[in-house]
Amino acid sequence: DTAVSQTPKYLVTQMGNDKSIKCEQNLGHDTMYWYKQDSKKFLKIMFSYNNKELIINETVPNRFSPKSPDKAHLNLHINSLELGDSAVYFCASSQDYGGGRGQYFGPGTRLTVT
């Protein structure tokens, strides 16, 4: 029944490793997003993606890359992890591009880089 799901919920890894976070939505939405929430709770958009267009926040390092095998999935790959990547990462989806009618969020993945 979960609308937007993410795995894993917790991820602890060492600097320099490569990791992936998976996201799936069963709402039939066309657009999916990745957000990063830092320790001060500031939520920052990383990517917006639908089957036509990927918009990357220019401040996101190219070590981060979204991969979408199909419309229901948007995975986040992170290469050469750094300490500053520690945060909670949220996947979200929306019916419209931009989320102007509301976005549905996953439960988050807490990434800790040691």
Partner: protein, 112 residues
């Protein structure tokens, strides 16, 4: 760049009291949305108000929007302990196809 700024950063009230949170933004918008985030959870969409609307209600929630002042308020009436959460406003640009930009949130604590 950050669009919404919530005020206050933290708010503590007694159960049954009303809670008011404010949000200011910088650029023209299509709509403004409010979300709730319980500790350790994802954000939940609460209510959306369009730029041509001034007030909207949903249950115990009341949202106002003043586009001339670029500000919005979220009022939660008769608060409950379960309302304890962080509340975020989010705005989209008026040019279309722009992602939501979230503020830093107001941390609401409702004491039973």
């Amino acid at each position: 760049s950050q669009q919404g700024e919530e005020d206050p950063q933290a708010l503590s009230i007694q159960e049954g009291e009303n809670a008011t949170m404010n949000c200011s933004y910088k650029t023209s918008i299509n709509n403004l949305q409010w979300y709730r985030q319980n500790s350790g959870r994802g954000l939940v969409h609460l209510i959306l108000i369009r730029s041509n609307e001034r007030e909207k209600h949903s249950g115990r929630l009341r949202v106002t929007l003043d586009t001339s002042k670029k500000s919005s308020s979220l009022l939660i009436t008769a608060s409950r302990a379960a309302d304890t959460a962080s509340y975020f406003c989010a705005t989209d640009g008026d040019s279309g196809n722009t992602p939501l930009v979230f503020g830093k949130g107001t941390r609401l604590s409702v004491i039973a």
